[in-house]
Symmetry: C2
DNA sequence: AACGTAATGTAGCGAGTGCTACAAGAGCTT
DNA sequence: AAGCTCTTGTAGCACTCGCTACATTACGTT
């Protein structure tokens, strides 16, 4: 018995991390109860038992994922502020493009799409995550910045555009735009 | 017989516009053969007959939609150039936020999500549409602009970020960012 | 008119969907 | 020990999914 099996209690709280892991890897739209249950070591029967129905499950799952994202941002916060906007932007861009962030980014666009289509839990989660990210960025702004609030919002907008263009194969276009804006350093690699 | 029924020939070419209309309204991910067929006045049987399988159908459909988008941009091109970057940006932003554009934008985020997940036809379509939009923007740049190429790419990035933040409920954040960037006019409404 | 190919209708298959009915086990209280 | 509630397993229902086998019609060519 090398595996303790972790049989006893099962609740939303114990299930959500396992479900989230599956969803981050395989996506949210195509997720159906039986594969989800298998990933969490349960049955579809129990998922319905704990969450009531699938819509509630998805909503709770998105809320949980949003919380995980928020916590991840807290972890990634450097104790030292950036000294320039360029450095600040480079930091958050590197964060969003990091390889360990990629599965999450794939899920993120699905959340945006669901948000646009009005699927119940999506917009709330997306809104929360963007709000959290804005706070993160504000805390990373240079102390002597003349307009930290506006600057952070400006950089958020530019960042999201950059990430989007990157995912559809136009990373070069975004980069050249950033160069023209002065926010990217010509010396940096792609 | 007020309806001529349009029974005779049915081919990819005659089906694609009808399929596209359905997809633009109801989305691409959840689209299944039978509803698609019904929207096009056929049967699932015939869709498979004409396209081979669903993956090919989706690919052809995305390619077609990309073409429609391209044509729509050509139509929307004003004969007069903008005189300032602000005006240029305002034009394309208004274009993307126009009410008749909204169903398409909803579909767009689905395309981005599919592109991120690597679903066969998605990335090609997204890439083509962004390329086309960049050309459009370049043609709208002020004639005396010091860096039309870089400026257009910069505005593209900012535009896409703005649209994305808007769909997830953070239009205000994007607007305040644009104000800080100098690309938005404080006098304009939301 | 006969033939051959393209186009279409009908029926269905096997798999998967969300969800439910029913019953049995587990653990706690009295 | 009896009862009680919480949790779980087994089957299954009604439905949709992409796709196919088979048969029929429509139509141009010879």
């Amino acid at each position: 018995m090398s595996e303790p099996q972790a049989k006893p209690k099962m609740s939303k709280e114990t299930l959500l991390p396992l479900l989230a892991a599956h969803v981050i890897e395989h996506g949210l739209g195509g997720a159906s109860l039986r594969p989800l249950a298998k990933a969490a070591g349960t049955s579809d029967r129990m998922l319905i038992y704990h969450f009531g129905d699938k819509e509630t499950l998805v909503r709770d799952l998105l809320e949980y994922i949003s919380g995980v994202y928020s916590a991840a941002l807290d972890m990634a916060i450097g104790s030292d502020r950036a000294t320039t906007r360029q450095e600040c932007f480079a930091r958050i861009l590197a964060l969003g493009r990091g390889p360990q962030m990629q599965p999450f980014m794939t899920l993120w666009w699905e959340i945006v799409a669901g948000s646009a289509r009005g699927i119940p839990g999506y917009k709330d989660a997306a809104e929360a995550m963007m709000a959290k990210q804005l706070i993160w960025l504000e805390n990373q702004m240079p102390e002597d910045d003349p307009d930290p609030a506006g600057g952070a919002r400006y950089m958020m907008t530019l960042l999201e555009g950059t990430l989007m263009l990157g995912t559809v194969g136009h990373a070069r276009m975004a980069r050249e735009g950033l160069l023209a804006s002065g926010l990217a350093d010509p010396a940096e690699g792609d």
